[in-house]
Amino acid sequence: MMKFWTWVRTYGPGYVEGLEWTALVALAASAGAIVWGGALLGVRLGAGRWGARAVDAYVQLFRNTPVLVSIYLIYFGFPLVGLAWPAVVCGGFALVLQNGAYISEILRGSYQAIDRVQFDAAKSIGLSAWHTFRKVTLPQVLVYSIPALGNQVVLLLKDTSLLSAVAVTELTMQAKLLTEQTGAAYEAFIVVAVLYLTLVAASEIVFRVAERAVRWR
């Protein structure tokens, strides 16, 4: 028992810092990606044929290239054009761009699942375009999307580990640092894997609760 507490006191702070960064990046990037995905869908639906084509090209591009390449492109490339962002912001931005593409497709699927009759009904009771969006479209799109969004957030959460490649001190980086410092072989990666599983379980629970909460209405 003593040994365990010394272990916690020695290595705990590193893991806690890693957890904080991972959780922060995952939360911020998830929120950003959902907003960006919504914006992309808005352009696809509202900006004519060329808007739709541009969004389609964007989605295809990000679907068929690895996030790691986007992360490097932003991290190494942006300083060359005068944007000296910190590594976390670069990595987070890459995650938003990539996951936004997937999320716009998720939201599109939900949007198409709404019965067209509802839009006629909204019109017939005199709802403005904004009110139709706020009261009819948005709530249903969000409710239908919850399970798929939950999946995407878990994928994003796991991809935050790639930020270690640009030296962000999130969980995976902490494990690397500890492995170098202590000369331990691989144990740190098992600890970190368990911590990732905890975060994944937490986000799964949140989305399942959200799904159930809206179902009873």
Partner: protein, 223 residues
């Protein structure tokens, strides 16, 4: 990156890297498919304990980042006195990861087989081997093809992560060239283009195969 020959060199290196990436993906897709078939057999077993074990295994592998798995295997192999090198470690990790994804795809395919197919196979008195070969395999193959292709695309993209455990492939090559030339946008842009070609190519190939298989019979309609 000012001279034409420097460009040619970079392009040649990237093409070589792309070939390695494709090879890594192909090897782990092949091995992962085999692993997945075994996993599905466990996942659909009559023994409840095995099904539970399957579920836990899937959750653990799917719930941890590929990079963490890669680092774990990369550092654990030498510690266990197995000096296999990054390539083998990389293929092991990708195989493990794809095996789980393919297993879920195949499981979905098996569960999509309509009850009537099982019933008629039984009434014909098909022996288990023939049932697998004549009924289950063709149906599951067709049902799971779109999702299977999707995972194959993910395999190519996931192979980029292996650059972090010093596997020399497309992303690693790109970083190497950048360190020498500082031509970030053009080199990474080219690397992205190579990835795009591979992934898009696999996607098209999958659609073509779907079309081919669908023509020969009933596969288009599900249950």
């Amino acid at each position: 990156m000012t001279t034409w020959s420097a460009w040619q060199n970079a392009l040649a290196l990237l093409a070589q890297g792309a070939l390695v990436s494709l090879w890594l993906a192909a090897a782990s897709i092949a091995a992962g498919t085999v692993v997945a078939v075994v996993l599905v057999a466990v996942g659909l077993s009559r023994i409840g304990l095995l099904r539970q074990a399957y579920r836990v295994y899937i959750w653990v592998v799917r719930g941890t980042p590929v990079l963490v798995q890669a680092l774990l295997v990369f550092y654990a192999l030498p510690a266990l006195d197995l000096h296999a090198g990054p390539y083998i470690a990389g293929v092991i990790v990708l195989t493990m990861y794809l095996g789980v994804l393919f297993a879920e795809v195949f499981r979905g395919g098996v569960l999509a087989i309509p009850q009537t197919q099982w019933d008629s196979a039984k009434s014909l008195g098909l022996p288990p081997a023939a049932l697998l070969r004549r009924v289950v395999a063709p149906l599951v193959g067709r049902y799971s093809l779109p999702a299977y292709i999707n995972v194959c695309v993910m395999a190519v993209k996931a192979s980029s992560v292996l650059s972090i455990i010093s596997v020399w492939e497309l992303t690693f090559a790109a970083r190497q060239i950048i360190e020498r030339t500082l031509a970030v946008f053009s080199v990474l842009g080219l690397a992205a283009a190579f990835y795009f070609l591979m992934c898009f190519g696999i996607d098209r190939l999958g659609r073509w195969a779907e079309g081919r298989l669908a023509l020969r019979g009933f596969a288009g309609e599900r249950g």
